[in-house]
């Protein structure tokens, strides 16, 4: 492919090439300008792309940072299998962090509600892990098209010592000149995929042949319908209501998280081509299937201020 792209001086690279180059540039800047960076790995498609880009950025060398997964203990089983398999294949320096305090308190989405569960197991878990290892920069796969408050977040986004985001104190980011200088106690979240959309991510996965969790592809899965959201019965912890019977439906996931908080969509998309076709035809935005984003208007902005990634 590259031979074709660069046969003439006039050859213009495609927009995916440009997005790729920008993401690689951002990762290299992060490594060059921070002391102890880490890459957050949530096992989803964005993380898969991020991991692939990181390998490209530092080829032929190895990743110059470890990979961190904050496990809420409620992830789909297939996600955990996929994570461990990828870590083995690629020889990743994988750190898995679980908020043990939350585990002791028995925090879970059914007993404590989605908001508290996400706060304790995900937000606080992440903060613990970053503090524990002393990481001063965390590279993540968030995209600006996911959410209105993300649309205004910088690529190098600063958090104070309490991991809070202050949308009013954001540094301007002109050209490609990222300012990674920190005040005392600050850490940085870095988002190399800021300018990617869901479609770009899928097109890139197709082009680069990047492995993703099989949950993205449709197959018959046991689901129950809760308030219009299809929840997969991934293990016996899901409490069934009296008379409720899981049904086998041909479903897939557009986004992955904790299984009780992630809605499935009816779909027959079994290949990447199918998924792309479906994404192009989709009349619903990606996060429509996420339970946590519905907790209130501007809820994502508030979560982010509190230190949610």
């Amino acid at each position: 492919m590259n031979d074709i792209t660069f046969t003439t001086a006039q050859a213009r690279s495609s927009y995916l090439d440009q997005l790729e180059a920008e993401a690689i540039h951002i990762m290299r800047e992060t490594v060059a300008e921070t002391e102890k960076p880490v890459m957050l790995y949530s096992i989803g498609k964005d993380s898969s792309v991020l991991l692939h880009l990181a390998q490209k950025a530092f080829y032929p060398g190895k990743l110059p940072f470890p990979v961190l997964h904050v496990d809420t203990t409620w992830k789909f089983r297939e996600m955990i299998e996929f994570r461990d398999a990828r870590a083995r294949e690629l020889g990743l320096d994988l750190i898995v962090h679980i908020n043990q305090d939350g585990v002791k308190r028995g925090i879970g989405p059914f007993t404590h509600g989605s908001e508290l569960h996400t706060d304790v197991m995900k937000t606080q878990g992440l903060r613990q892990a970053l503090d524990l290892h002393g990481f001063d920069a965390a590279i993540g796969g968030a995209r600006r098209d996911e959410d209105k408050s993300r649309a205004k977040e910088r690529i190098f986004s600063f958090r104070n010592a309490h991991h809070r985001w202050d949308p009013k104190r954001q540094r301007p980011e002109p050209w490609r000149l990222f300012n990674a200088e920190k005040r005392k106690g600050e850490s940085i979240r870095v988002f190399p995929l800021s300018n990617w959309t869901e479609l770009d991510v899928w097109l890139y996965i197709l082009r680069e042949n990047i492995p993703v969790v099989p949950l993205y592809f449709a197959k018959p899965r046991p689901v129950v319908s809760r308030g219009g959201t299809l929840i997969m019965v991934d293990d016996e912890r899901l409490p069934l209501e009296p008379g409720e019977e899981p049904q086998l439906r041909n479903v897939r996931f557009r986004t992955l998280g904790c299984y009780p908080l992630t809605g499935a969509v009816d779909s027959n998309a079994t290949t990447l081509d199918d998924i792309i076709r479906e994404t192009l035809d989709s009349r619903f935005s990606e996060r429509a299937g996420r339970v946590i984003d519905k907790d209130g208007a501007a809820s994502m902005e508030r979560k982010k201020q509190e230190g949610y990634f």
Binding site: R28, K56, G61, K148, K152, N195
Partner: protein
């Protein structure tokens, strides 16, 4: 067959199939949208996405809910709600921060920097413009060209945006009248000489009704130019530096094994092939490119844009911050730069100020040397003397670095010609800088003037004349020194006392500079006797 007929009848489905199969050839256009608070920018962008059928159903549902219009025609919807983000902004109904939006059509992917209009948020606009190839400037047909519009156009042009699209909005309210459009276009063109080498396109639109946004207006048959979307899809998005000399700033030195040394960076100018002679700057060592390495394989050539790893034929000393440049057309290495500065700090920028500078991937300490001149955006970018720059002001100044760096003029290369200044204490990014001239002899421009000259220069702004004020002052100074020397010599010859002669001459310098200058300016206003 049936399916094919259905597809032909449904252009959207057809376009989507085209997207799927032609995505590799799609290009990317970054543009900035700017307009004053009530000119309807968010509405226009919302309408653009809506008419191009790029808004997902659940967002339209939310939009209907937020507008309080669960049913009814589309033009009752408040499209601006698709664009305004942070909670505080929704309350105040204005866009405070820069937001990035994305959409793709069959031809292009677009990254839109949605910049707030108000003057106090100019830094957001300047940031958005820094990477944009096109600026969409909103004008309200009712109020016509405003100071704000001129300001936006000047900022965009200064930051190297080469295509300006002036969308004259709310045409529905002025009865789609061609003379309203013509007047605004004429007004705009009359000051456009200030913008330098830019392409101007004027489009009459109505964000509310959808005229000339995606669909051609039925109500304005007199307009024959492109719709907004057509313009966005066809404008030349190639960065200027694609045609200039090879440049790559080294970001990171890759040393995975003892016998491999690669230099990682993004190609920021021209193109490069193995075997090409390059120079490592600022050190000046010459060598050749051995390989262009990417994870997808070695390249026979790389043009502007990709992030690559280069290996060199010789064992030269290269580190982060160095620039690899075409040996036949290297960058300039200097520790003094003349630059345009856009100041974003809390206080004022004054001569003597010290900062960290980040230029491409290099860092150094920088000091503002010599006087600052204001580029007055409220006065069509007229250059005026100033003691300092306040927040959101543009100016010229000279920077002195603690070590020499390689750089290009901003007009030649946006990547190697731009920098940021970082406050050493707060670590905030406090200024954007555009290099005008980089060389060892970089001078403060104009010639350094005395305190009196400076005061006179300020008074001089009150007048407008054919001779430039700095020229008048230069003439006053040169004449005065010649004249006073003459006075001193004559005084000495007549009195035989060098002390008295010196006192007369010195007093005269002070009084007569002012007299000469005033005399000169009065003559400059008199047309009589000019040829």
């Amino acid at each position: 067959m049936n399916m094919l007929v259905n597809k032909l009848a449904d252009p959207i489905a057809l376009a989507r199939d085209a997207v799927l199969y032609s995505h590799e050839n799609k290009s990317l256009l970054r543009f900035i949208a700017c307009g004053s608070v009530d000119h309807g920018k968010s509405s226009l962008l919302g309408r653009l996405l809506f008419d191009a059928r790029l808004v997902p159903d659940d967002q339209i549902e939310t939009l209907r809910k937020d507008t309080g219009q669960l049913t009814g025609p589309d033009d009752e919807l408040d499209f601006s709600l698709l664009f305004d983000g942070l909670a505080a902004e929704r309350e105040q109904k204005i866009t405070i921060d820069l937001a990035y939006r994305f959409f793709a059509t069959a031809k292009r992917k677009f990254i839109v920097a949605d910049a707030p209009g108000h003057e106090q948020y100019t830094r957001n606009m300047a940031t958005g413009a820094s990477t944009a190839e096109l600026a969409l400037i909103l004008v309200n047909a009712q109020s016509g060209l405003t100071q704000q519009t001129r300001r936006h156009a000047l900022i965009a042009a200064t930051l190297g945006v080469r295509h300006l699209v002036i969308a004259i909005n709310k045409m529905d309210i002025v009865g789609y009248a061609q003379d309203v459009f013509d007047t605004i276009e004429r007004d705009f063109r009359s000051f456009a000489g200030r913008l330098g080498d830019v392409e101007l396109t004027f489009i009459p639109v109505s964000a509310k009704k959808g005229d000339n946004v995606v669909h051609r207006s039925q109500a304005m048959a007199w307009y024959r130019g492109p719709t907004l979307l057509e313009k966005l899809e066809t404008v030349d998005a190639t960065p200027r530096a694609a045609r200039s000399a090879f440049r790559m700033a080294v970001q990171w030195v890759s040393r995975p094994t003892a016998d491999f040394r690669g230099y990682c960076g993004l190609i920021a100018g021209g193109s490069v092939v193995p075997g090409q002679e390059i120079v490592v700057q600022p050190s000046g060592q010459r060598t050749r490119i051995k390989e262009i390495i990417t994870a997808s394989g070695e390249l026979a050539r790389a043009g502007i844009g990709p992030s690559v790893t280069l290996t060199l034929t010789d064992d030269v000393d290269v580190s982060r911050g160095d620039i690899l440049a075409d040996a036949a057309a290297p960058a300039t290495v200097a520790d003094r730069f003349n630059a345009r500065i856009f100041w974003m700090g809390q206080g004022a920028l004054a001569p003597g100020g010290r900062f960290h500078i980040k230029l491409a991937t290099a860092k150094a300490a920088a000091r503002i040397a010599g006087p600052i001149q204001l580029i007055d955006l409220a006065d069509d970018a007229a250059v005026k003397p100033a003691d300092s720059l306040l927040g959101n002001e543009f100016g010229h100044c000279t920077l002195e670095l603690d070590r020499a760096l390689a750089a290009d003029a901003y007009d030649d290369n946006r990547e190697t010609g731009s920098f940021i200044l970082i406050d050493a204490e707060s670590h905030d990014t406090v200024a954007m800088g555009l290099i005008e001239r980089a060389d060892a002899q970089a001078q403060t421009v104009p010639v350094r003037t005395s305190l009196i000259g400076h005061a006179v220069l300020r008074i001089a702004r009150l007048f407008g004349a054919r001779e430039s004020h700095s020229r008048s002052i230069a003439k006053a100074l040169s004449w005065r020194f010649t004249g006073s020397f003459d006075t001193f010599v004559i005084g000495w010859l007549i009195t035989g006392n060098s002390k008295i002669a010196g006192s007369i001459a010195l007093t005269e310098i002070v009084t007569k500079i002012a007299l000469y200058y005033g005399h000169e300016r009065v003559w400059a206003l008199v047309p009589w006797g000019r040829r």
